[in-house]
């Protein structure tokens, strides 16, 4: 076959590249290569394709060798499982098995222990593989979920609390006893315990600090007290502290009027006998605007006096059961008595408006009397048999009024 009969085909290129052409043909081809750029271009393409094929061949062969080596590292057991998933199954297994015995011994020493975990790991179940592959994503997703769940819970709680505390700018004045104040209480309690051990009620040293506190005052000499309903609302147990010796008594709630925020407590302690005659009277009519009023209460551990004037005959949002008074009050003042100049009890401190300067609210004494009048017949007599007709406070200087009044104002401590 002479050169001229051969078309410039791939076959010619291949034969040239593989050195299969006779010398004459070869010389002619090379001569043509110099003058024919299309031919040299095709030769280049041919070489490029061959280079690609060689590369593929080389890599596949090498990969096969490495897979076989890896199989030997992994051990015969996992080699069998892996083999099924590989394209070159036959060769792989054939290479794998006999080489096991031919493994160079000195090499095995340092490598095998490190490779041990792999032996186990190659049996990994799909779930674990999935975990491995996506653990970062999972961890992030889980953290986000946990974080958002807890922040939602937290914010909901905060919001609820906020709403409860200040429904439309109105704040109830029971006091949440904080930790520092608890210690204070404990100190005072210790002093009390040592000075008048007999008078102290219950196992006092072990009693926990109160959750809330408010004020209260005597309704009758036989141990009925008045306070705000919201103070004793969630109470598990109640302690009241007061009287001439500043003693501590157990008490229970006997009546409540949620709408007017009034609760009537009864001292249930056996040590309690009587408070003596009440120094104040309960005003049966509505007091007048501008009346100078004052209160005693326990916004702290000690009794606190506050005074002002009767500012309005209606309370928050026009509630006619309440007065508005310009007495500075604080959490803990709730349930405290509101008295006028002549020592008439005209109301019970209940709450204040947050967004208004010095606007406190007190339930009218008429509301209290209304509640008492509506008690069952025999209870009325029991609760207040001796409502005084005259006040001992009329015409007395304010400090003297307070001295007499003080023994009838109590701290109400709520445990829950």
């Amino acid at each position: 076959m002479s050169y001229t009969e051969l078309p410039p085909s791939d076959e010619l290129l291949e034969r040239y590249e593989r050195g299969e052409l006779a010398d004459a043909q070869r010389a002619a081809f090379e001569e043509r290569l110099l003058t024919d750029p299309s031919l040299s271009g095709r030769l280049r393409d041919y070489r490029e394709v061959m280079a690609g094929l060689r590369l593929v061949a080389q890599r596949r062969a090498l990969r096969e060798k490495l897979v076989a080596i890896q199989a030997r590292i992994d051990g015969p057991a996992s080699a069998a499982t892996r083999a099924s998933s590989l394209a070159s199954t036959e060769k792989f297994v054939v290479v794998g098995q006999p080489a096991e015995s031919a493994r160079p011994v000195p090499m095995a020493e340092p490598v095998i222990p490190a490779a041990r975990p792999l032996l186990r790991a190659s049996w990994v179940n799909p779930a674990r593989a999935l975990w491995r592959a996506h653990r970062t994503t999972m961890a992030v997703a889980a953290s986000v979920a946990i974080l958002s769940a807890f922040s939602t819970l937290y914010l909901t709680a905060v919001w609820k609390n906020y709403q409860r505390q200040s429904s439309n700018g109105y704040a109830l004045l029971r006091r949440e006893v904080e930790k520092i104040k608890r210690t204070q209480t404990a100190i005072i309690r210790d002093i009390n315990a040592s000075s008048s051990a007999n008078n102290v009620v219950g196992d006092d040293n072990a009693s926990p600090a109160a959750s809330f506190s408010g004020s209260g005052f005597a309704l009758s000499s036989n141990g009925f007290l008045v306070t705000s309903y919201h103070v004793v609302k969630d109470a598990d147990s109640l302690l009241v502290e007061g009287g001439p010796l500043h003693q501590r008594y157990r008490a229970t709630t006997v009546y409540r009027d949620e709408a007017r925020d009034i609760a009537i407590l009864r001292i249930t302690d056996r040590r309690f006998h009587t408070l003596g005659r009440l120094p104040y009277t309960f005003k049966k009519t509505t007091a007048d605007l501008g009346e100078r009023v004052y209160t005693l209460g326990y916004p702290r551990e000690d009794v606190v006096y506050g005074e002002g004037a009767l500012a309005s005959k209606t309370g928050f949002q026009g509630d006619t059961s309440f007065y508005q008074v310009s007495v500075p009050v604080n959490p803990g003042n709730s349930g405290g008595p509101l008295l006028d100049d002549r020592g008439n009890l005209i109301g019970i401190i209940s709450g204040r408006q947050l967004d208004v300067q010095s606007a406190a609210f007190a339930v009218k004494s008429t509301a209290l009397l209304h509640l008492l009048a509506n008690l069952p017949a025999d209870d009325t007599a029991r609760v207040h048999p001796d409502l005084p007709r005259t006040s001992q406070l009329t015409g007395v200087r304010r400090p003297d009024q307070i001295k007499r009044l003080q023994d009838f104002v109590f701290v109400v401590k709520v445990y829950n």
Binding site: S9, D10, E11, D45, Y46, R47, E48, V49, M50, A51, G52, L53, R54, L55, V56, A57, Q58, R59, R60, L62, R63, K65, L66, V67, I69, Q70, R72, I73, P104, M107, P110, V111, A114, A115, L118, A121, S122, V124, A129, R132, A133, R135, T136, T137, V140
Partner: protein, 204 residues
């Protein structure tokens, strides 16, 4: 002393691998596998992925060794770690995972920095392109062309064998078929990619 002898041992090992000693290759493979596996597993890869990456790494190293002008300027360990690190980072980027910081299990950058010239990198890149292009083209080619060409060019089987296998009447028919297939392969191969001039002088 120990270090020097270690270096000598390593040089001997690399030399043997270069000459195609398969036991040396196995030794090299076993020696550095734990290191790469550790790196991949630390960075959220599975064992199978570790094996895959390591094999690719060794292939890159091996091809580098086949370049006559290639001189290893650092320890084999460092070189393999560098390559495996690059490959694994690329794989992670493809997977488009959460960008967690990459935790190196060896000192990085290493003391004896792997000297990769831009030329080296281009070469490696071209090599990758060439390989993937060819694999893809072979896949696209379909049967029987694929097994015919693979049999002849990759596995060096004779035309007679292939003729029998594929049921051609004679070797001439088989040859004609083979050249037709080659022409198609060439078209596929150059359809989307063409090596740059720069790759060319490296090629052989």
């Amino acid at each position: 002393m120990a270090h020097a002898s270690l270096q000598l041992a390593e040089e001997a090992l690399v030399g043997a691998v270069r000459l195609g000693d398969e036991r040396a290759l196995e030794r090299l493979y076993r020696l550095h596998y734990p290191m790469v596996a550790q790196m991949v597993r630390t960075n959220s890869g599975s064992d199978d992925e570790a094996k895959d990456i390591y094999q690719e790494t060794v292939i890159v190293f091996y091809e580098k060794l086949l370049q006559p002008e290639f001189v290893l300027t650092c320890q084999v360990k460092t070189y393999l770690y560098a390559v495996a690190r690059r490959l694994w980072l690329k794989r992670l980027a493809e997977r488009n995972r959460f960008a967690t910081p990459f935790a190196d299990t060896e000192t990085w950058p290493p003391d004896n920095v792997v000297a990769e010239t831009p030329r080296d990198e281009r070469w490696a890149f071209g090599q990758e392109q060439r390989y993937h292009q060819m694999e893809a083209s072979l896949l696209q080619l379909g049967e029987p062309c694929r097994s015919l060409l693979e049999g002849f060019y990759l596995r060096d089987r004779s035309m007679t064998e292939l003729m029998n296998e594929h049921g051609y009447a004679n070797t001439d028919t088989a040859k004609t078929q083979k050249y037709k297939c080659l022409a198609r392969l060439r078209k596929l191969f150059f359809a989307t990619w063409r090596p740059t001039e720069d790759d060319d002088d490296y090629n052989r």
